[in-house]
């Protein structure tokens, strides 16, 4: 058999029914486009999340109070169990060089949503209590004014550095430095304003007010413990050792012998990144699977049309058989036709998917004020085309088989 010639004649057979061919491949086009779109956006979202985590610095370790959740049904997932296990005592222990020799700094963090008001304006802001080292960890320094210092923390000073959105909401265009905002019935003097920063991991600094952790604990939240302890290791290489030392130190402090009973959970930025990667991976795969259903529907459409085509061309099949075509020749011809259809659909879908995901990355970037990076997803494109060829083969086999089984006289008699 002359493969090239069969290909050519399959093409011309499809050209004869141009509009039908176009409509037929629509399902495949939509399916492949959807898969491309989902995987590209999923990938971009993932790299965005990862870049956020990485912006924390690769030397960062976060300690969360409570038990590491073993699943969504675990009651400790809500941090209700041992939620107050991290206090100043723990920070002091960690800071001892004999305990964690490679620790550079350990920073407490308390946070919560509280409304901040000035004059008649009120805004629901994220109040973050910490030390001035927070600025270094999150790489966020006041644009105007300055950060509070050690003395402010000791004195439980009622001072705050506010995010740009909070500043706009409360003060508009007028100057905020030196003014007093009200949080939980206390007056906090604004000593600095952050530049626009957007979301970093869990905190949107644009909408936050950062205050000394001592003031936050006493005057706002009324707690003695911390919500997080952020530890900075001296070097990237020492992160695993620091992580291990933290666990040993805290277990000793809390008299824990079995790691199963840990009342804290420490993880490095790298581990967080890996967890997030897994989550976004699962999400992407799930969405792609949903999109794949439309490919299935498209495939059934192809089968339907090919069956119609086989019936319509009964006399052509009979003629070909009379002229010497074997059943396999006919089978091949129709499988070629359906595969060409789906492959074309796949190619169009890939082009459409790339174009749309490029547009989506621009729109999302504008909308969320984030840098969505866009790269042509070669693997997804390759997969999209391979899948559409397979759909053509799979759903083309039955109609092609029916065609190949037609008896030549029956087929010739058909008008």
């Amino acid at each position: 058999m002359k493969i090239l010639y069969i290909l050519k004649s399959a093409f011309s057979a499809l050209r004869v029914n141009k509009s039908r061919s176009v409509l037929t491949i629509l399902g495949i086009v939509i399916g492949v486009t959807a898969i491309m779109l989902v995987s590209v956006i999923g990938e971009s979202a993932q790299s965005l999340v990862l870049s956020q985590v990485e912006s924390l610095g690769s030397r960062t370790i976060a300690i969360v109070p409570g038990r590491e959740p073993s699943g969504p049904a675990d009651p400790s997932a809500a941090e209700s169990l041992y939620a107050d296990s991290l206090k100043m005592r723990e920070i002091e222990a960690l800071k001892k060089p004999s305990n964690v020799p490679d620790l550079e700094e350990a920073v407490p963090i308390v946070f919560g949503l509280y409304s901040a008001s000035f004059g008649g304006e009120t805004f629901n802001s994220m109040v973050i209590g910490s030390t001035d080292f927070l600025a270094e960890i999150f790489d966020i320094y006041p644009e105007e004014g300055f950060f509070f210092d050690e003395d402010d923390i000791k004195a439980r000073a009622e001072v705050a550095i506010i995010g740009v959105k909070l500043k706009d909401e409360l003060f508009g265009n007028s100057d905020a430095i030196g003014e007093k905002i009200r949080i939980n019935g206390r007056n906090f003097r604004v000593i600095g304003v952050f530049p626009p920063k957007g979301q970093i991991l869990f905190f949107n600094f644009d909408e936050s007010a950062v205050v000394p952790f001592t003031s936050a604990q006493d005057y706002i939240f009324g707690i003695k413990h911390f919500n997080r302890i952020i530890v900075q290791a001296k070097t990237e290489e020492s992160v695993p050792a620091v992580l291990r030392d933290i666990e040993i130190t805290l277990r000793e402090l809390h008299n824990i012998t079995d790691p199963e009973n840990d009342d804290f959970f420490a993880s490095s930025q790298i581990e967080i990144a890996e967890t997030l990667k897994t989550i976004t991976d699962i999400l992407t795969i799930f969405l792609a699977a949903v999109a794949a259903i439309s490919l299935l529907v498209g495939g059934i459409g192809i089968m339907n049309i090919m069956l119609v085509s086989v019936t319509e061309r009964t006399s052509e099949i009979g003629l070909r058989k009379a002229l010497g075509a074997t059943g396999n020749n006919i089978l091949l011809q129709f499988i070629f036709e359906s595969s060409i259809l789906t492959t074309l659909g796949g190619l169009i879908g890939v082009l459409l998917g790339v174009t749309l995901s490029f547009l989506a990355s621009i729109i999302l970037g504008q909308l969320m004020n984030m840098a969505w990076d866009f790269s042509i997803p070669f693997f997804a494109a390759f997969l999209g085309i391979v899948i559409s060829v397979l759909v053509g083969l799979l759903f083309g086999i039955y109609p092609a088989y029916k065609a190949s089984q037609k008896s030549p006289i029956e087929a010739l008699r058909y008008e």
Binding site: M1, S12, K321, G324, N329, P408, I409
Partner: protein, 240 residues
């Protein structure tokens, strides 16, 4: 040795518990180079006979030897290969592929042959030339008259130089002039190139272009005679 040897050939259709015989015991031989017409009213079994002779269908009883070998030994694929190599078909309805050029229509049997694609063009063009349509090579069937379409069909039947040509009512859909031209070509193929021709028709005049007429009635042979006053398409034209 006869090209075709048929003995007590029968075809019985079984359906809904009823047996319908289309052919009931026909016997004859066809030699290489013969021009045989098979005649009969509709329902006489002439089309069924042609289908069996042309390997398009299988008989249910009796014997059919083609080139001395029984058809029973062949698989469907074997039959397809033999049809391709040794048989040419011309149908009443022409059966050309629509929206496909004359050249590509004539090439169709080559697709299923062992001949390399590089040689197809020349072979197909020679066959088209033989029926005098070389100027229409790039036309599509819809642009041709009925007579021209049938000439394309003959070119397609000829393209692999078959041993035998089966023509099923080739003039049935043509006016008398075009029909005559077709008969002229068939006679030429038989006399000049030595092709065996089996012609099915219900018109006595057309049948008398053959050298021998087999008349069928109700699936049986009514008569099998040599034609005494054979028509010659070319001479008739001359006398007109």
């Amino acid at each position: 040795m006869s090209l075709i040897e048929v003995k007590d050939l029968a075809k019985i259709y079984y359906g809904d518990g009823v047996q319908t015989p289309a052919l009931s015991g026909v016997s004859f031989d066809i030699n290489k180079g013969d021009f045989v017409a098979i005649m009969g009213p509709s329902g006489s079994g002439k089309s069924t006979l042609l289908h069996i002779l042309g390997f398009l269908d299988r008989h249910t009883h009796g014997k059919y030897l083609f080139e001395g070998k029984t058809i029973d030994d062949y698989s469907d694929d074997d039959l397809a290969h033999i049809r391709n190599k040794k048989m040419g078909f011309v149908f009443q309805m022409f059966n050309l592929l629509p929206r496909t050029t004359i050249l590509d229509n004539v090439k169709l049997p080559l697709l299923y042959s062992d001949i390399k694609e590089s040689g197809w063009d020349k072979i197909a063009k020679d066959a088209i030339k033989a029926v005098g349509l070389e100027k229409r090579i790039d036309h599509e069937p819809s642009q041709l008259s009925g007579g021209e379409k049938q000439r394309v069909a003959i070119a397609r039947a000829l393209v692999l130089k078959p041993e035998i040509i089966f023509a099923d009512e080739p003039t049935g859909n043509l006016d008398s002039k075009s029909g005559k031209a077709i008969m002229e070509i068939l006679q030429d193929l038989n006399e000049k190139d030595g092709h065996t021709v089996v012609l099915i028709t219900h018109e006595t005049y057309t049948a008398e272009h053959a050298g021998r007429i087999i008349r069928l009635h109700d699936g049986k042979i009514e008569s099998d005679k040599i034609v005494d006053h054979r028509h010659h398409a070319k001479k008739d034209e001359f006398f007109k």
